[in-house]
Amino acid sequence: MRDPNFPPSRILIYLIVSLIAAAWLAPLAVVVLNSLRTNEEIAQGSMIGWPQHLAWSNYAAAWSGFCVAETCAGIRPYMLNSALVTIPATIFSTLLGAIAGYAVSLWRFRGDSWIYGIVTLGIFLPQQMRLLPWTIVLRDTGLMNTLTGLVVIHTIQGLSFTTLFCRNYYVAIPQELIRAARIDGAGFFRIFWRIILPLSPPILVVTVIWQFTHIWNEFLYGVTFTTGQQQPVTAALIALSAAVADIPQHGVQSAAVMIAALPTLLIYLIGGKYFVRGLTAGAVK
């Protein structure tokens, strides 16, 4: 209950919350500040400090200048790789998940709950159980070390999440709506297009944000199935740290880290509400 006199206990609450919030923001602040300090300045002091003057050149160097393993094109090609994997895989897995979710929740067919149950097990199966089989599949299809290979992997594996999200959303749509449309002669696709999709924007936003964030941030498959110029940005960051281990360039590295984190951070800033909904969707049901 809000006390008009603002007693000490409330001041204490605000104090504690602000301190924890500052601790939570500190790592971000450190990277942002370091990305604006020169490598020499950081080498003289510590990673934690205020820039003497703003060294924006770190961002230019990180974007298109520094070298990872004999290629000096900065982080740009790897950002492009990540985008070329994340965007198609997000679209495909969301669209297929929406159709699958609609099929198992409203269209209903023989064996629907069985196959749905198996598909959702994919949420729990560790990636390590799929590493060797994917290696064989990618090698035999000639997709090893290609971005297409990563798109295929993320689309198929993403289906477990997208189908679950959409199915849980669609079960709230009254079955009578579908029955009436079928009596009027509407088929599977027409009902999806005319009835289901117009009702779907909220869950599609949640699903797209979830998939984008997860695929962009994914590391294990990227580092296992691609090398050199084909790697997504998460794998390239690790390669960069290893490459500069002898002569650290912490200013440039901080800028690279910021650039790599920016797409998902921006999406979180814009659609945080939907991101949290996705986060809690599987848990509170």
Binding site: R10, M47, I118, V119, L132, N217, S241
Partner: protein, 307 residues
């Protein structure tokens, strides 16, 4: 292929089937691909774990030899010890942090939305990024220890990152920072859904705020607590990126975890059979957490139906 819109009466069943082929394909192909890859990949990895495969998969049967080799290796034993310590410390501390944050945010404070966003933003960032940043902060020559030294307190020591006995705690710190927000979000949702009548009744009985939390509100949160524990444990068991970026298993092999052992066996030492065995062991550890949880959920649901 054209899709007829209406069914003519008396149409033979076969052409009906052909007409609906696109629909069947759209429904079944993605679902079957997903389900089939999960089952086939799991069975294949389990099979490989019983073969003498090294560089390439080969058939043959070695029984449990791969499993005993993995279980006897120092790498795996350290990984298991670390998982036990990391798993319990991380789960308990992130649970406590999340609960405290949720209770604090539940005090009708100003700027709640902003604060919530601050505690949750690490979850939107890749573990590679956060692991890298924490490796700088915790590096004694670069981060917090260096800062304190530069400020004049030169005997200050905070070098867990390069201390074999303490290094695993750096992963605990980073993991708590990254995912306490998740526990907070679930707890906050739980606090907000406590029955208002229950609170009113307790207020009429003269319960103060601390008593209210201990006796009335917190007991309603235990189903959420179990869910949070299970999800955080699942995260702990499969932790890979964070360790790879923060310590890379080091110093030495002091922060080895099961997922790193699997990767090392499969792709660095090319011992596919043993790598698969380690992956199956990881799955078994996960099942030891998930199966009791699934059983508990099943009982809960049955009770809800019968009540």
């Amino acid at each position: 292929m054209t899709i007829a819109v209406s069914t003519r009466p008396g149409q033979p069943a076969a052409s009906n089937w052909v007409r609906r082929l696109p629909e069947y394909l759209t429904i079944w192909v993605p679902l079957l691909l997903s389900a089939a890859h999960l089952i086939a990949f799991s069975l294949w990895t389990i099979w490989i774990s019983f073969t003498p495969s090294t560089l390439v998969p080969v058939s043959g049967w070695v029984g449990l030899r791969n499993y005993s080799a993995v279980a006897a290796s120092r790498n795996w034993q350290i990984a298991l010890d670390n998982l036990l310590l990391f798993g319990s410390a991380f789960v308990l501390l992130s649970l406590a942090t999340g609960l405290i944050l949720a209770i604090l945010l539940d005090q009708r404070i100003r700027g709640e939305n902003l604060l919530r966003s601050i505690f949750l933003y690490p979850l939107a960032v890749s573990f590679v990024v956060t692991g890298t940043v924490w490796s700088w902060l915790l590096n004694p020559g670069l981060g917090i220890q260096k800062l304190v030294h530069d400020l004049g307190w030169t005997s200050f020591r905070f070098d867990w990152l390069i201390d074999r006995d303490m290094a695993i705690w750096t992963i605990v710190i980073a993991a708590i920072w990254q995912s306490s927000g998740f526990a907070m979000a679930l707890f906050l949702a739980g606090l907000r859904s406590v029955d208002a009548d229950l609170i009113k009744a307790a207020q009429i009985d003269g319960a103060g705020p601390i008593r209210m939390y201990r006796r009335v509100i917190l007991p309603t949160l235990w189903p959420i607590t179990i869910t949070v524990i299970v999800i955080q444990l699942q995260f702990a068991i499969s932790t890979f990126d964070l360790v790879r970026a923060l310590t890379n298993g080091g110093p030495g092999i002091a922060t080895q975890l099961p997922a790193l052992v699997v990767y090392d066996l499969m792709f660095q030492r090319s011992l596919l059979g043993r790598g698969a065995a380690a992956a199956v062991l990881m799955l078994l550890i996960l099942l030891a957490v998930l199966l009791p949880y699934a059983a508990w959920r099943y009982v809960q649901r049955r009770r809800a139906i019968h009540a």
